[in-house]
Subunit: 346 residues, 3 copies
């Protein structure tokens, strides 16, 4: 089962790519080397020297180029071989692939597919650093297929169980109350109320609030979640529909789920507090809570991966909570089929 | 190469299954969750939620049922889905398999095959706790196919080499003297004398004894061994046949060899002292000796497993000591063929 | 992809095979047990008991034979089964393979293929201990295919990069100056000058020397390298050809690259100082430098192995430095094809 090619994948947090140091990542099965040019822009190339297949990510950045540290071949930002030590001319066939790159929302995004299609497709908007506000970020390496992580994010009813004592606290409506779903081209928008709930334990928040959880999920695996707190009674006042007033608190939580291979995934997450009048230290508290909770998800999902491998013929079944999950799985499956049909010339 | 289905497998020691805590085991390739009902009886279900395949062994016991700790589905002791949080009706197809269970001889036994056949087949009798006497138990996880452990137990001539300094001491007749073999329906009985030998170093035993070793082996992998000590001269007096007098000492040693997959096995062992007039602490000494000796077997058998994998075309050959081994291998092979023929409708 | 059979492989350093202790090695996919007879000569047998496939390398040496430590079968130096405890006669079919062995140049060499061909083929001459001079040796276990290590040794232009700060120091001509290549039956001879270079930091050497590097590579994977220092100007005086005078310093460095399986290799290396007037301790310094540098190679080559596995369809390309590498790869490939054709009866 291959991965979608024509999509923007989160390759890394921008601050993972330091000046002068190439970084190797495997994205949807493709080894990619990322490095910063002299002007700071990120370059993405195949992570292999075309000579004997040593990884360029173990090489050295020289200006806008990267030098393989086995026999010294130098590659430019377009993948062309620029130098072959001990040899005056460079024969054809030594060029390697380069990939479109965008740095936005704190992330380095890479496009693995047809470069001609990259420009037509916007990088998903996550609004993590909207208005230049500060954020905190982290990464987790999962021993699981990326769609299991998608599934987890698309069915937040799990919060009542997996995060019983951390995120859910007494908010049992995570599982009882229905969500509203809106399809978008490349994903789905989901919103629900959890009224009369205990807020996260950050300084200066009231004892009880109406929580509005709303997120946008973009395939293959990007999600931007807003957790907003409103005064008690707001949910009922808007008839459990979309609120028009400004919340008293909002936490943004973004997720970049990047497949590595069939059994492993790199999970990038970040948190900001776009609406909050408490102390600046709360941002560190918030990323601490999120990091802890994502460890709970990781445990659950890796258990699920192992169990799935033990039941190779199992049919997964859906409940009332799986509307977004099914939408996302169907979009991925359809896009994959389309790409495969195009590749095979059908 | 599959495993026998229609057989009682040792799933766990009874004290491994605590009240309120589900326990996951893999038995002959099948993940099984074990838990105790409110009345203490053990339930065995497929270890997967029918929703998204999370393992129920990471869930919570509620009365006679177990709740998945991903999205909260509840399963009864017959495998029926009883609750689906957030949803009033439960659609068909959410039930999972349940397995016949017996708790006896200190062990939890599970029947993986056709439930209709379970009742006709008695759980093997091991007599570990005969008359309510105390026993000690342990487990080892082997990186080896379970039949290699069967082989080891069915040819005790290895005691003279593998356990040279621990169990054998100077009892070289483990390898020199022939054993007597008696076929039973599902296995074999084996007995031999090792006359004039040094006993195990437990308090109050004479310097030299005639050892009578007798065991029953039941396929797929259960063995009950009795090591009995008689006064010097007993073996000769009964012409190396079956003794009629009561021994001066007896140690019971049971073995439950449960395949996990083609390359791993869970080995359950226990010891009791049905005839012994020495101090109670000797039971702890005895399990200590057995545990140490089984570590010697484990080393040998895992080496053998690795070597077999390096010689994929090797033909194993038999010596005069392999009578019981061949009987057990043939019974397993015949039963497997019979099950496969039935499954394929032949 | 199999390995060459009809070749002498380095199985171990002689001092790895101690009196009385059998040693297991896997050579080109074949498990082999090595042990010393009563007279000290090394015996090589298949590392399996013909009874139940326990490894003989976990057994015990008895005179000229080795006893399996599972059920006690004894095997002679020709692979015949000599004893079967508890049994008077030994049925046919219990013999195992024995392999031709030579101990020379500090190494134990084993011939895996047709024994009739072993005598016709000389063990490669490495001259490590020429004239009985002392040497130092070491081993590295690589997670890489052995031909990648061959490649590394056959293209010393990598010294300027991989060993930039250790072996190369300021000797950039490792990559700039062309080498001279001479084909031999089973390999290639390569020599080059690196004039005006800094010598290795051993006591008593001049500040600058003309370095003459010359090596012979024998397939499947044996290399003998001589690093000789000449007074400045020697290279130019001989028109960058073969020097006739005696060097002021010479270091011998031998390499025995022995495939274990498709992804692992045992690398044996040794150092002596055939021409050197400095202190005896310099030999320990020299093996220290070599060991450190070979750690740099190991890192590079294992990275390369992983990258190759990520690009299963990649075509490796060659530069001007790959003349010896291509010769060695072609000889190996041709010999393999020849052996396969003979085996399949063509």
């Amino acid at each position: 089962m291959p991965f979608i090619k024509n999509a923007w994948y989160v390759a890394a947090w921008g601050d993972e790519i330091e000046n002068g140091a190439p970084a190797g990542r495997v994205i949807a099965g493709q080894p990619v080397v990322l490095y910063r040019r002299a002007d700071g822009a990120v370059v993405a190339l195949e992570d292999r020297c075309s000579h004997r297949c040593a990884p360029l990510s173990k090489g050295r950045v020289e200006g806008d180029a990267v030098r393989c540290w086995y026999h010294g071949l130098l590659f430019g930002q377009d993948g062309a071989c620029l130098e072959m030590p001990g040899q005056d001319t460079i024969p054809p066939g030594f060029e390697i692939r380069h990939y479109p790159v965008v740095e936005a929302e704190g992330w380095v995004w890479v496009w693995l597919g047809d470069p001609a299609l990259a420009g037509e497709n916007r990088v998903p908007s996550c609004k993590l650093d909207e208005g230049g506000i500060p954020y905190r970020s982290g990464c987790l390496d999962y021993a699981a297929h990326y769609e299991l992580i998608n599934d987890n994010l698309c069915d937040l009813s799990h919060v009542a169980y997996v995060h019983e004592t951390t995120l859910a606290r007494d908010a049992t409506d995570w599982v009882q109350r229905k969500a509203d779903y809106t399809n978008i081209d490349d994903g789905v928008e989901v919103a629900r109320w959890i009224p009369g709930s205990q807020p996260l334990p950050l300084p200066g928040l009231p004892e009880r609030v109406d929580i509005r959880s709303s997120y946008t999920f973009y395939i293959p695996g990007v999600m931007s979640l807003l957790i907003a707190y409103y005064p008690l009674g707001t949910a009922e006042a808007v008839n459990y529909g979309s609120p028009e007033s400004t919340p008293i608190f909002a936490l943004r939580n973004v997720h970049g789920i990047t497949p590595v291979d069939e059994r492993s995934t790199r999970y990038h997450f970040g948190v900001s507090l776009p609406i909050y009048s408490g102390p600046a230290e709360a941002l560190d508290m918030a990323i601490g809570m999120v990091t802890h909770a994502f460890g709970e998800d990781k445990q659950t999902i890796e258990d699920q991966q192992r169990t799935l491998e033990m039941f190779p013929d199992v049919v997964l079944r859906n409940t009332i909570h799986d509307t977004a999950l099914m939408r996302v799985r169907r979009l991925i499956s359809n896009k994959l089929k389309k790409e495969q049909a195009e590749t095979s010339g059908v």
